[in-house]
């Protein structure tokens, strides 16, 4: 990956990819951020730091020597602060100049929703590989057997992929799940909708036993540390009245713990965008659409770009 001067004044290093730079990224769940104490990380390979101010509002800045990890922060003395958002329970920031705010998740406005960060996982992979895994139904019976899928019911029946206002939607995705509802004694086919509103964020809508009409929303928001390391946040926006936060977290963390070793054994870590680099089938329509979409956006960070484009 070419290292050039970042877009924002003061950013020492960063990718040369304006598509990746000019995005908001979820760094950490707001309620996990210490108040007034520096936390250091990287975003797209650019060293940055963050904390919450004494009033609870998030602060982010390009890492400066005077503020080592744990150092007390005074918002007034920060030079070169980064823009921040506090949305969906996360601190979002950017090292570029995003065009507008964040994508909308209308369900988060419903008062009876349970919104929480069900877990943050460090994974040695690229952002696009992590998102593709989240969109992938074919792996459920193999990587999450007995939970999100079950062998031998491995067929992926045809579903539809659509582009709606420059987002990807995959609809009518059916998968056999052994424990679709708490009360079910035998498995059943579950209907998923996937939505990709952002190069490194994806959402999944799934029916819930607690409501006939509305859907549970589960999201994956990726914080790319660099092009081979991520922190993946699992966002929950559920209609669940049964499980405790702890139970919801344990469930999602169990799921991600199964994906992690697979993702860390994918080579290369970057997602190949060339259609011939890997061997997709009809079941991989969403992932094909995602790869094409990234390619059309001109994304070059965390991917192996197409040779001819």
């Amino acid at each position: 990956m070419t290292i050039t001067n970042g877009r924002r004044s003061g950013a020492a290093t960063g990718p040369a990819d304006p598509v990746a730079i000019d995005q908001w990224y979820a760094i950490t769940a707001l309620d996990e951020i210490p108040i007034g104490r520096t936390v250091r990380t990287e975003l797209l390979g650019v060293p940055m730091s963050y904390c919450r101010d004494h009033d609870g509002s998030p602060l982010a800045w390009l890492t400066q020597d005077s503020l080592p990890a744990g150092a007390p922060v005074d918002a007034r003395t920060l030079h070169a602060p980064l823009p921040t958002l506090a949305d969906y329970g996360y601190l979002w920031t950017t090292v570029g100049e995003p065009d507008g705010g964040l994508f909308d998740i209308p369900e988060t406005a419903e008062p009876d929703r349970r919104i929480l960060n069900a877990g943050t996982f460090g994974i040695f992979t690229s952002g696009p590989r992590a998102v593709e895994n989240f969109l992938d139904m074919g792996h459920l019976p193999f990587v999450h057997p007995g939970v999100l899928g079950q062998q031998p019911f491995t067929e992926i029946v045809d579903y539809q992929v659509e582009y709606r206002s420059s987002e990807i939607y995959a609809v009518n995705c059916l998968i056999f799940q052994p424990k679709a509802a708490a009360a079910s004694t035998s498995g059943q086919m579950v209907n998923y909708t996937f939505r990709v509103p952002h190069p490194l964020c994806a959402l999944l809508y799934k029916s819930t036993p607690e409501d006939d009409v509305r859907l549970d929303v589960i999201g994956l928001f990726v914080h790319p540390i660099d092009d081979g390391r991520v922190r993946a946040h699992l966002f929950n926006c559920l209609l669940d009245t049964v499980n405790t936060d702890g139970q919801l977290r344990r469930f999602q963390q169990g799921v991600l713990a199964q994906d992690k070793p697979i993702l860390e054994n994918q080579v290369p870590r970057q997602l190949p965008l060339d259609p011939d680099a890997e061997a997709p089938t009809r079941a991989d329509k969403t992932s094909n659409a995602y790869r094409r979409w990234l390619s059309d956006l001109g994304m070059t960070y965390g991917v192996v770009a197409r040779s001819n484009s």
């Binding site: 990587v143 067929e155 054994n265 994918q266 080579v267 290369p268 190949p272 890997e278 997709p280 089938t281």
Partner: protein, 584 residues
């Protein structure tokens, strides 16, 4: 003398003893990551360490003894060929033959597995190691370029044995471009160790010492320790002289995977493979079994339910199902029943084809594919109809999927392939000496309780297939859950009509006259149509229909597929009206 290109030579990649059963070992040669595994038939596979589907390392795949199973989406890859054998997301599809993991050569010599190299290359043959047992000593990975290691091995020779004794003469010589041999002579005894250097990549190597002779058990441990210590010292020296960071020089040529003749454009019905009858035996009353081995190279892989066309010495072409289970990839195994009214096919196989004879085959076609995503799989075999179902049963058994194999035959003596049936016993139910009515009653019992995700496969005499389909339909089995394969088309064929065919892609229009098949007309017009049975049984000559009424005369489609009218078997079926349009 110029140094040979390392890419043209074979190099060691593992010790034979490292290939523990049902494991996959990681190796690297000339910058290529490799997954090395031994199948239950002892064949050693050296493959690129990457699932072609979504890039997962195959060194984390499961070795089930016959196939590697990728942990991400469960793609299965066959022993020997590296072909994808099954894609679980598409249970009714046979994976295209181009889906194949790159494979590399594998040879065993001196207790090591050798790979890479040009097709003609041989593992080195060294006088130091010939004619005796060898002891493979501990291999040592070194963070230093291979040439530096070779130089170091010459400069600081490792003593072959702990104390060679006074007056021992030690000689050290380069034993080929990637090996150093050390010999110690005392009196009449001579001990030799050859250090092979495996070029991992430009900056790293593995030193693999092999000792001549198998030392007595009481000396063995001290010898192993002695070598481990010496090599550790050598490593320290090498790594410090290589400096850090190691200058990684890329390999001169990347490793060349084996090329395989893949899915040659299927031309008509021409034979594509030459095989030799490796074994022929009488497996049951009136049933001859054949094992056909490739004359060169390896056999194309196939899925359960597949058949091959056998081009007989008398000029006839006959289809026989492959009975192979997933573990058997070195031969095709067929069963042929002697038909009393044989038109020359089965008689020729029984009487004129002998062990050692050569035969021409087509590549396997599969028009009777097995789904492996069923909650219940029922296999119903009538007599010799057991052959494709044997392949299915063995596959299901190996994958630990529940199945029942109902085998209807005249008597115990008529049961074919007893040695294959034996280990299937959990799923096998024999039905012997039943009349057609009794058979129908049994089938009623077997199929009476249809449940979702159940699939039924039937193969046998025509009337038995008819009966089974009717009974299953009565018991509520949906048509798409009932799969069948006839041996022959016993219906009377009508070819008196004449009609017009338009080819949508090429724009051609042809006229098919009376007495001429649609298939032949298409071929005359230059369309390269594949075919196999040419009697409406196997489905190989299928074309997609865009427009027009059809006169189906095959026994391949079920009723709803016929009614859909979107596909036609061109060998026997014709237009129902004056004109059809094909997607060709």
């Amino acid at each position: 003398m110029t140094a040979p290109d390392p890419g043209s030579l074979l190099h060691p990649v593992a010790g034979c003893a490292d290939l523990v059963p049902r494991h996959v070992v990681k190796a690297r040669l000339l910058g290529q990551d490799l997954a090395v595994w031994r199948a239950d038939d002892d064949f050693v596979n050296v493959w690129a360490d990457r699932c072609i589907h979504r890039g997962v390392r195959l060194t984390v795949a499961a070795n089930d003894g016959a196939e590697l199973v990728c942990p991400y989406h469960g793609w299965r890859y066959s022993n020997r060929s590296g072909n994808c054998a099954y894609m679980p997301a598409h249970p009714s599809d046979a994976p295209p033959r181009r889906l194949r993991v790159p494979t590399f050569r594998s040879e065993e010599r001196y207790g090591l597995i050798w790979s890479g190299g040009s097709p003609e290359a041989e593992p080195p043959r060294l006088p130091h190691l010939e004619g005796e047992d060898t002891l493979v000593l501990r291999a040592l990975p070194v963070n230093a370029p291979p040439d530096l290691a070779l130089q170091g091995l010459l400069e600081w020779p490792c003593q072959p044995v702990p104390a060679p004794g006074d007056g021992a003469s030690i000689s050290c010589d380069s034993a080929g471009p990637f090996a150093v041999a050390v010999t110690a002579r005392t009196g009449g005894t001579e001990e030799a160790v050859v250090h092979f250097v495996q070029p991992v990549d430009g900056g790293r190597c593995v030193i693999r010492p092999v000792m001549r002779g198998a030392p007595a058990a009481d000396r063995r441990l001290s010898i192993l320790r002695h070598h481990a210590r010496q090599l550790e010292e050598l490593r320290t020296r090498l790594e410090s002289s290589a400096g850090s960071p190691v200058a990684v020089r890329g390999p001169s040529t990347p490793l060349q995977p084996l090329r395989r003749p893949t899915a040659t454009a299927v031309s008509g019905r021409a034979p594509q493979l030459e095989v030799c009858v490796a074994r022929k035996w009488l497996t049951a009353e009136g049933i001859a079994a054949f094992e056909l081995a490739p004359v060169s190279g390896q056999l194309p892989s196939f899925q359960p339910g597949a058949h091959v066309d056998v081009h007989l010495p008398n000029g006839l072409v006959r289809q026989y199902s492959l009975t192979n289970g997933p573990g058997l990839t070195s031969v095709y195994r067929l069963g042929v029943k002697l038909e009393p009214d044989s038109r020359g096919g089965s008689r020729c196989m029984h009487v004129s084809v002998h062990e050692g004879d050569r035969l021409q085959l087509s590549e396997p076609h599969n028009n009777f594919p097995l789904r492996r995503d069923a909650a219940r799989t029922v296999l119903i075999a009538g007599g010799i109809g057991v052959t494709p179902l044997l392949a299915m049963a063995q596959t299901l058994q190996r994958q630990e999927l529940a199945y029942e194999l109902h085998y209807f035959a005249q008597s115990d003596d008529h049961l074919a392939f007893g040695e294959v049936l034996e280990p299937l016993s959990t799923g096998l139910v024999k039905h012997l000496g039943l009349s057609p009515d009794q058979t129908a009653d049994e089938i009623k019992k077997i199929t009476h309780d249809y449940g979702t995700a159940s699939h039924l496969y039937v193969c046998g005499p025509g009337p038995m297939i008819e009966a089974t389909r009717a009974i299953a339909a009565d018991s509520g089995w949906p048509e798409d859950a009932v799969h069948f394969e006839y041996f022959k088309n016993e219906s009377e064929l009508h070819d008196a009509s004449s009609f017009e065919v338009r080819l949508a892609r090429t724009g051609q229009t042809l006229v098919v006259g009376p007495g001429v098949s649609l298939l032949d007309s298409l071929r005359d017009a230059g369309v390269d149509m594949p075919s196999s049975c040419e009697q409406g049984v196997c489905g190989t000559c299928m074309a997609t229909v865009l427009e027009g009424e059809l006169d189906h005369q095959d026994v391949f489609f079920n009723d709803s597929e016929r009614a859909a009218g979107d596909r036609i078997l061109t060998c026997v079926s014709r237009a129902g009206g004056h004109k059809i349009v094909l997607d060709l």
